[in-house]
Amino acid sequence: MKNQTFISHSVEQTREFAKRLAQELYGGSFIAFKGGLGAGKTAFITGLAEGLGIRDAVSSPTYTLLHHYRKNDSQHTEASSDLYHFDMFRISGYDDLESTGFFDYLSGDAILAVEWSENIQDFIPDGAIIITMEVIGENIRKITIKRECQNKGE
């Protein structure tokens, strides 16, 4: 995946863009989101889930820390991968992060999408896709996609 910048003019455009990006993901992909409240992280992940073929409703796991959207349940056709959706808004430091079970999910074959990844900066794995969302105007967002190779241990 190459680095790119996209200017979105509506929440629908953000979702469509995310839906296309979903086609480039595979089991084990790690997507770290940066950007403050209302930047559109959850909107983006809603598009990702849709692109993966997941039909569950997506919302920020601000209090539950983690939402798990399954690739198949009894009603739906099979999606390409499970999606784990973390929200690190309330997390600071290694012990906090470990207690969420975060490290147990890293080695699996699901896709991980992480909101507020600023809070777990030191623990973002090598090869993660970093998506930064900036508010430019009421309905305008600047979306920057970077694949980062960081070497900070876990």
Partner: protein
């Protein structure tokens, strides 16, 4: 007494039904799996398979036992939730045993110190130290030498230097510790036989039977050793209120 036991504290899923008499026990069925699939998907089918393969219903069991930590946070939650569910629905007692005690039972035949080690990341292991002593009539009695803890591998090496005799490593951190401490402890370090290296529910059942720590499902709690973020936040907000 029939004890049904579960261990999900590591990447292994282990489920067993064990029948105990006063002096002996029989493994009725055992299921061990280590193929990388998440416990959330594998545990319940494994439980169902073990019970149906020996035509038992949950209500036919006397106790349902679980390794309640230390170990993977996610694993503990899944295992304990399952045991609470079974114990509540079938109205039977449950038991929570230390995952480290259970690992020690894997190699109760070993001479010297038994040193269960579970990978706790960042060069730490969950560990406690045990020995087994002959009490005559063929029975070996477990003796614990310290509380369950998270300890750096280097610190563990220093402590083990003080013991005499063999140090028997068991658990998913055993090979890591063997590699790290070979310089310090040399051939006193022994790795458990590979077939007994991982967590086994049969050992959980054994520990529960010996400890007789039978409780109601709602009393069962995980022993994380490290405090989860939610609990810490609650305590912080409590202390602010005071």
């Amino acid at each position: 007494m029939k004890i049904f036991a579960i261990d999900t504290t590591t990447k292994t899923v282990s489920v067993a039904a064990v029948k105990f008499d006063e002096r002996d026990y029989t493994i009725l069925a055992e299921y061990n799996m280590n193929a990388g699939a998440p416990h959330s998907r594998t545990l319940l089918p494994a439980i169902k398979n073990v019970l149906t393969s020996i035509s038992l219903l949950p209500k036919d069991l006397d106790v349902v036992a679980v390794s309640n930590g230390p170990g993977s946070f996610t694993g503990l939650r899944i295992g304990i939730a399952a045991v609470k569910g079974i114990s509540g629905a079938a109205e039977i007692l449950c038991a929570g045993v230390s995952s480290l005690t259970a690992l020690a039972y894997n190699i109760s035949f070993a001479q010297g110190v038994i040193c269960p080690v579970m990978d706790a990341r960042r060069n730490q292991v969950y560990n406690a130290l045990f020995t087994f002593e002959d009490t005559g009539n063929g029975i070996r009695k477990i003796k614990r030498h310290c509380a369950d803890r998270a300890v750096s591998i280097a610190q563990l090496g220093k402590e083990l230097e003080k013991f005499n005799g063999d140090v028997n490593l068991v658990g998913d951190g055993a090979e890591l510790v063997l590699a790290e401490l070979q310089d310090v402890l040399g051939d006193r370090l022994k790795l458990a036989p590979r077939s007994l290296l991982s967590a086994r529910a049969v050992s959980v059942a054994q520990a529960a039977f010996i400890e007789k720590c039978f409780i109601a499902g709602n009393e069962l709690i995980p022993n994380y050793l490290r405090q989860p973020q939610a609990v810490r936040e609650l305590q912080e907000s409590d202390s602010v209120r005071k």
